[in-house]
Amino acid sequence: MSAEHAEHPALMPNEWPEDPHFGRATSAKVGMWVFLLSDAFMFAGFLLAYGILRGGTDPEVGWIPAGEPAFGIGFTAFLTFLLICSSVTMVLSISALQQNHLKYAKFFLGATIFGGACFLLGQVYEYWGFGLEGHGLVPLGLNFGASHRATSFYCITGFHGMHVFSGVTYLTVIFIRMLKGKYDDGNWNHLETAGLFWHFVDLVWILVFTLVYLWI
């Protein structure tokens, strides 16, 4: 950081200059929205391909080939609930920092990271079953490239899993900065921007859960 920046601390989000189009949205926030839009289009591409493959399936053959395992709806619903919980802790962390309540901000951000990490572990279990007998989609015969169903499933959920991993990493960096006192002035700009990414990951999963796991 240059000496000039060090002398002039970052503006608080509510002090950001008013823009006729974007109000007081910070440049980080607008930039994150533009990024999320492009990211959403990538997910839209995957989901479109999935929809075309599934919609174009010959009814006599069926979408689920013989021998492929069914998805664990109950377990995935639990993972969905986990992401929803991590979304509410994320927004509570931002609310705490907005009030300069650092202890609660750290607590809720830590809970968010924990929820994301548990989701990732859950996905590893869903794929490989931790080596347990009769668990895991791969050991049970859902192999990448074996069918349209298997390949689209791994592409979509794997791409989403990479986003969860990125989100957990991103939030961990913010958490470490918070522990080091970088946000002791109560500036929530970075946390809110990271939060947008995290909520987006939750939002996409809501659609993936419905369209990939529950769709009849």
């Binding site: 974007f22 109000g23 839209a44 479109l48 994320m90 509570l92 609310s95 300069n100 947008l196 939002l203």
Partner: protein
């Protein structure tokens, strides 16, 4: 560090203290209500995807119900948790209107794939 920050560092992390803190602000209370709705809608989705419900109302109605509930959940997250409802109209529409294109693509391309199936033109379309 300000006095406010020092005081906050001494706050308790007990469930009671956290609950009181959440209830003490209408925004945070709204977040919790949305969290409850997201939970209820997720459970409702799992419920209506059960086989006996499909047998009663049919797969088409189940799928329509699933999509409507998923869109409601996505809207809650985008508007309340991502604060799109409190952003300017320009930012809100900048984030939302481009999704008209994937929706249009979905309607045309998935519709065409289904049409091909029903007209027996699927063979050779995919390897």
């Amino acid at each position: 560090m300000s006095d406010t920050t020092t005081a906050s560092e001494q706050a308790s992390l007990s469930p009671g203290a956290l609950w009181a803190w959440i209830k003490g602000d209408h925004h945070r209370w709204a977040y919790m209500k949305i969290w409850l709705w997201l939970f209820v809608l997720t459970m409702a989705e799992v419920f209506i995807a059960e086989q006996f419900i499909i047998d009663i109302i049919g797969p088409t109605l189940v799928n329509i119900g699933l999509v409507l509930m998923a869109l409601a959940k996505a809207a809650y997250v985008a508007l309340i948790y991502m604060h799109l409802n409190s952003e300017t109209r320009v930012l809100r529409w900048t984030a939302l209107w481009p999704f008209a294109f994937p929706a249009l693509y979905a309607f045309v391309l998935i519709g065409e794939a289904v049409w091909r199936v029903f007209h027996g033109q699927l063979n050779g379309m995919f390897p």
